[in-house]
Every structure is written in structure tokens, then in C-alpha cells.
Amino acid sequence: MRIVARRLGLYLLTAWVAVTANFILPRLMPGNPVQTLIGKITSQVTPAEIRAIRLSFGLGFKEGLVAQYFTYLGQLFHGNLGVSITLGAPVSSILRESVPWTIGLIGISTVVSFVVGTVAGAMLGWTRGSRFDSLIPTATFFQAVPYFFLGTVMLLVFGSNLHWFPVLGAYSQGATPGWNWSFVASVIRYGELPVISIILSSVAGWMLGMRNMMITMVGEDFVLMAVAKGLPRRKVIMHAARNAVLPSIANLSLAIGLVVSGALLVELVFNYPGVGDLLLQAVLNEDYPLIQGIFLVITLTVLAANLIADVVYLVLDPRTRSEAAV
């Protein structure tokens, strides 16, 4: 438990650094968002309006940088991330709408891809040299194809031409958002093609990683001992797989951390209303509060995912416990 607490402390420190960087970086940039915004307004701008804009960005106050920083921390603590310039809504409520879509789509695909790839990799590693080895080049091919190409082709072939899957958006126009069956069914139906495309393009990594670790593990003495003990084949494989999966778990944490940000291409190809799509819009429109808010969410997800992975790793590999205690 002490180790977990120490890790937690370390992550809090990292989070503080990230939050602070998020505060400082925009202030180091040349120009300021007010200028940008004024530039966007085509009609005449009165000094009063400029003052109002400055105030809304927290620039009108005659506070020093330190005081500004504490105001920023306080606002952040209350979930106030400012107001989006282009969308005119609070950044926090915009994020609340788009983050679940991304986590749902990319999160589920990542986990399914990890499970499928790891199980397949374990079997491939165990039966090395069998005819199933031909799965590897096939899977690697799909990972090697650029995702936007793979996604577009799938969308065209299975969506537009064959009409096996619905295209564009996250749910059908007829469904009313909420916890009702027709909406949930529609979300699942619309999610199928993007999920399949993500799994197809990412499963090879999990598979290869697990297979290679598995081959190493099969040569270990404790696997030989498991055979010598007369254990059923399934248990022998588990002995090897239990150890082989550790590096994959570490990679999974990184992958999950990138879920929120790594969705850009998927969301563009499938016109999915997630964070990636939002970030692109924000960058194109130079919507600083929104960019800042998204970055903050991404940073915190990466940190949270790493923390979870650390804890899981501590549970799975007892050796890390004593090393951490040294």
C-alpha cells in the first residue's frame, strides 16, 4: 500500500506540472487570443467590447502572473475551463459531450484489440511454426496500411457499396439520444465498422508482442517444470502466458492513455463526434480555451491510465513491489 501511495504522490506532482505548463505555455505565445478573436469579428469593434473580451479571458484584471496562476488553479478546481471562442459554450460542457464518444469508441476498440491480439499471440507463440503463423503477415499488413486509407476503403466497400454497416455519425438520425434501447442499439450498430477498422489496424502489434514474449517464456525453466509436473496443457500455457503478458500490460496503459487523443483519424473518416474531431476544429479556429481544455483532458487521461497500469503491474508482478521498496 505504501508503494501505491508513493506512486500516487508522484502522479499528483506530475499532474501539477502539467497543469502549470498548461497555464504558462499560452502566455509564452506571441500575440494573444483577444487579437485573434478581434480579427475574426468582421464588424466594427468598440473599446467596450474589447474590454469585455479581455475580461472574459481573465486579461482585464490588474493581477500579477502569480495571482493569475492561483485564480487559474481555483477555477480549474471547480471544473471551470473557460469559454470556447468559436462555440460560445463553456469548454467543460463541450468536453462532457464529446469525451464519452471517444472513450466509448476508441476505448472499447483498444481493449478488444488487446484481448484478441494477446490471446492470439499467446497461442501463436505456443504453437510456433504451425500453419497459424500465416496470421502474422496478414495482421501486419493491416497495421502497415495507413489508417486513413484502410478506414476509407472499409467505409466505401462495406458502408457505401455493400450497405453492411451504416455510415457517417455515431447514431441514426431517427434515434433520440438517451438511455433507451433504440438509441443504444443504433450507437452499437454505427460503432461496428469503426471498431472493426481500429481492431484490424492495431491487432498485429499486440499479437506480435505477445507471441515474441511467449516464445521467450516457453524456453524458461518454470515452463519445463510445469510440463514435468504433469499439468494439463492449458495450465502449462497459462504459466508461460502469465509472465509473457507483462510487457503487453505496460503497452496497454500507454495505448489507453492515448485513446482520447489518438482518435483523430478514426473520427474524421467516420465523422464521429469525439475529441479528435473537436481538437481539429479547435486548432483550425485557434480556439485557445478549447485547445487548452482538450490538452488538459488528454494529459490527465494519460496520467490516470499510467497510474492504473502501475497499480495493475504491481498486482501482476510481485518483483516490482520489492524493487520499488528499495
Binding site: L224, M225, V227, H239, P318
Partner: protein, 384 residues
Amino acid sequence: MSATIPREHEPTALDDGVTASTGAARGVARREPVLEIDHFSVDYGVGENMVRAVSDVTLRLERSRVLGIAGESGSGKSTLVYAMTRLLRSPGLISGGEVTLHVTDEAGTVTPVNLVSATESELRKVRWSHVSIVLQSALSALNPVLRIGREFDEVLKTHRRHLTKAQRRARAVELLRMVGLNEDRLDRYPHELSGGQRQRVMIAVALALDPELVIMDEPTTALDVVTQREIISELGALRAQFGFAMIFITHDLSLLVELADEIAVMYAGSIVERAGARELYEAPRHPYTLGLLHSFPPLHGERRELTGIPGTPPDLADPPTGCSFAPRCAFAMDRCANDKPSLVEVGDTGRSVACWLFDDASGSRVPVALSRVPSRAATTKGET
């Protein structure tokens, strides 16, 4: 763990087809065998690149006896035991011979099991219940992410299905006590134990199902000398208590003489000498055995000059035509380079040597170093 070890006062426990008739003639009651290895050969690879790692080995181990197999690295001693228990990995391949394990079931009925032709499911029944193995490195033999208790639990759960969880735990505690470890070790992970403790755990796990045969593949090589001695004496006591037979592999002959009833010395995949432990130790007959004895300091007794053996073992991919030890042998004769000597009985104590020096027909004179007479203590196997 200081129990006196009752030893059989027979000069030999190990016979094969060659010596069987003489054994009977001597009036020695032959005990029931637990393991019979018959003209057993093991290759690595096939075709052009084939390497014969074990060639034509015949051995017989009787119940509750200890057979030591000695030889330097690459002599085929580990390959022999892994192949005969069917644990040898690809590209290792059994190329000939039979291995018969005499399995005693709970009712006391003895059934011979042909290990070479046994199917996977037949092997699973025999494994650990009747043959268990202790490896050189306990650290790598124990799964690093599992608690020690799981090692016991898993074996008992697989082979003793009627035991409850509490009973399995109780058995594990009992086994740990047997090897002098506290039960709190059950909740530890392998990396939290010392080398000696880990090897004790392995020994306890090996004895969990009361097997007839325990194979020890250099179990003490990775340990310091003090721990080595402790474990050897514990093994002796455990064997006296439970009566399992043991095959003990090592390159340290002085260690073997403490524990083994019989020693087989392997060189380049073949057995070159086989004799009672003390006899072999005190009066080696094969030049290679002599060389091995001069490579290790004795644990006690007279000090010997350590000389080692010049040269290196032969390349098994291209073995010499004659005696494989001839290029390194101080006593090599002309015929050694051309004819391969076979293992034949020498003298009347059931020992066998594969060396032309002891071929009566050759008329060669046996060197002084190889004609020492074993002490009375050796022939009667007195305990020190």
C-alpha cells in the same frame, strides 16, 4: 535432519544385461527395478547436422537407491534424463532404445510404463506422481509471479483431486517443514527467498506426491559450499525416510560419493565407467574418471593435487572413430584411436569400464594410478 542414514550393505545395486548373470551367480538378491534404460540414444537434429548427444546408454536403477551421473558440461548427462522423461525439447530426438519406469499405484501393484512410447496423457499421469525433477536453478524453475504456496497447490490440485483446499495447504506446510522451512514461506514469492531456501522449496515440491523416483539435475551447483552440504545431508535423510530412488546429476564426483550408491561417469554421450560410489571414488579405473577426480577438491579425506583434464571434449558433430577420450588420455594406445571400447565388466564387484586398458586380450599393463585397490570400507560401503 541429523537422522542416521541406513544404507544397504551390498556391493552393487546397479546392473544391466551384461552383469545380470554374474549378479545372480554372486547370490546377490536383485531388488525390484524402478527404472530401466536400455540401449538409449538421443540425437539433436536429423540428417547432415545430426549430433548424437547420448549414445547407447544402458542403466538400471533399483528402488530406493541413488544413482549418480557424473561428467563435464556437454557430456550428455542432462540430455539423458530429460530425454528419458520425455521433457527434451526440439530439436532433441530419441533415436533408439527403451526406457521403462516401474510405477507403483496406491494399491501396491507395479506396472511397467514404457516412457518412450507413452502418449501425452499417459505421461501426465506418471509425471510428478512417480517421477519428479529438481533443476539446477531454482530461481528460474519457480514461476516468478506466483507465491510459493501455488507451486504446491497446483501439483496437489492436479494429481490429488480429492484433497480440499485446507488439506492441500496442510500438506504444503508439512512438506516445507520436512526441508526445514517455516510455513510463512508459502506466502512469499521466489525472489524473496535465498538460493538455498528456493532449492529446498523445489525439493519439497518434488516430494509432494511421494514419487518413486526423483531426478536431481545439479541441484546444488548454484549454491555455496555450506548450503550445498546442508542440502546433500538433508536429501540423504529424506531419502532414508521416504525411500524414493534418486538420480543425481553433477560434475562434482566428491559430492556424489557422499550421496550415491552407484556412480555412472559419462563422457561424450556414453557411459565410460560405472561402479559403486566409494569404489569408483577410491579406485577409479577409467582414465577420465581419474581426471574428473583430480579436478575437484575432496570435501574431506586426503588432499589431492588438482590437475584437471587437458584438452576439450570432442565435437559430437564429428566424433572420433575410436575411443572418444583417447585424444585427451594420458594412457592412450594405438588401438584407442581406431576401435571404440564398449562397457564391459572388470573385476568381480560388478563395476564396468569402457577402456582398452582393461581388455585382457590386449595384454596391456594397467597403469598404477588406475589399479588402486579400494579400501575395505569402500567395498562394504561403510558410512563416514
